[in-house]
Structures are given as C-alpha cells and as structure tokens.
C-alpha cells in the first residue's frame, strides 16, 4: 500500500510557464511534507517543505500548497526554467523527523527552452 503517490510520472512545460506537480497521501498521521529534486547521478536535494499547520509555503519561484482535507499537496514552479528539469519527489513524515520519510515515486519534469 503506497502511502504517498505521485500519479504523473512525467510533465513537460515550456520555459517561462508554470509547472504544477501533484502529490497525494493516505496516512493521516503525516504532518510534515517535503519536496526534493534529483538530477541524474546525484542524490536528491531538498527544495521546500510545509507543516500541516500551514496551507502554503513560498520560497522564491517555488510554492507548495497543502490541502489537508483532500490529503493533497502540490508544488508550483513559476516561472519554469530549463535548469528545473529533474525528477521531483514528494515526501511525508510526522513530528518533523525527516529522517524517516515516505517518498512518492517521483515526477520527471522537462522544461523546454
């Protein structure tokens, strides 16, 4: 039973447009959510996070939205840049212990110049 799901394996957008990556979770115990970005041959790198007490967190071009009732979160990238092309993983945990996180299977984002 996959507790964190990223239902879109891939997404392609034009440079300058908005990228929206989605993530759904099933475990109501999760209260801390993170997004990681992964380039080929590198480990994932932390991008942005959100606590369940918030519904939005913004960091530059990246915004994460959390809808607790729907158990859904999304990552918005505006404007998208070719350097954003990577695999994006959604992760969830509880008690802000990011050490034990449950990851989705990732969405490959391609930003076309």
């Amino acid at each position: 039973d996959q507790q964190v799901k990223q239902n879109s394996p891939s997404l392609s957008v034009q440079e300058g447009r908005i990228s929206i990556l989605n993530c759904d979770y099933t475990n109501s115990m999760f209260d801390y959510f993170l997004w990681y970005k992964k380039y080929p041959a590198e480990g994932p790198t932390f991008l942005i996070s959100i606590s369940s007490i918030k519904d939005k967190n913004e960091d530059g071009r990246f915004t994460v939205f959390l809808n607790k009732s729907a158990k859904h979160l999304s990552l918005h990238i505006v404007p998208s840049q070719p350097g954003d092309s990577a695999v994006y993983f959604c992760a969830a945990t509880w008690g802000t212990n990011a050490g034990k996180s449950t990851f989705g299977d990732g969405t490959t984002l391609t930003v076309k110049p």
């Binding site: 480990g43 034990k100 996180s101």
Partner: protein, 111 residues
C-alpha cells in the same frame, strides 16, 4: 564544507554474498538514515541511526543491518544478497527537525 559522502559508488556482487556500504554525514549532522531506491521508484526508508543506535526501522528484513560510529559515520550491511537487492542505496544525514541531505548513492548490482 563537505556534504554527505558515500563509498563505493558502484558495486557488483554475486547472489548469496555479503556487502558493506559506507557513509560519512555532512559536517555538523549527527543522524544518518539509509534508503533503498529501486529503478523507477522513490527512496524507501531502511533505518535511521542516532547516538550509535538504530532508532527507527522500515519494512526491511534482518539481512539488512547497520552501524554508526562515534564520529557519526555509518555502515549498511546486507547479508545473503538476493537479485532483488539490486538498487541505488542512498545515505542521508540530518540534525533533528531538518530536511535530509543525501549523498550521491551506491549503485549495487547483484548477479
């Protein structure tokens, strides 16, 4: 400031053998977590070490064991290797409450 370093980068083993993977955490971090990433999937939590003890464990068999040393570095050991153990093994370090910092992983191939 060195990030998380893992060794070796690649490894080929035969079914039934044993393997040891190594990890040095980011400077200032005291907690190490290990993840297994199969092809096309997200990282799966194996276990977490803090103060030289296993603190949390994911759904992995006892063939997977680990160790943390006084300098916070860590080892992952896998006994009686199966073909299905072929994967990218990621080490990540953190301080409590902080996001994970990952190494570039060890690619294990079991033949």
């Amino acid at each position: 400031d060195a990030g998380v370093t893992q060794s070796p980068t690649h490894l080929i083993k035969t079914r039934g053998q044993q393997v040891t993977l190594r990890c040095s955490p980011k400077s200032g971090h005291d907690t190490v977590s290990w993840y297994q990433q199969a092809l096309g999937q997200g990282p799966q939590f194996i276990f977490q070490y803090y103060e030289e003890e296993e603190r949390q464990r994911g759904n992995f068999p006892d063939r997977f064991s680990g160790h943390q040393f006084p300098n916070y570095s860590s080892e992952l050991n896998v006994n009686a290797l199966l073909l299905g153990d072929s994967a990218l093994y990621l080490c990540a370090s953190t301080n409590r409450g902080a996001p994970l910092h990952f190494g570039n992983g060890t690619r294990l191939t079991v033949t």
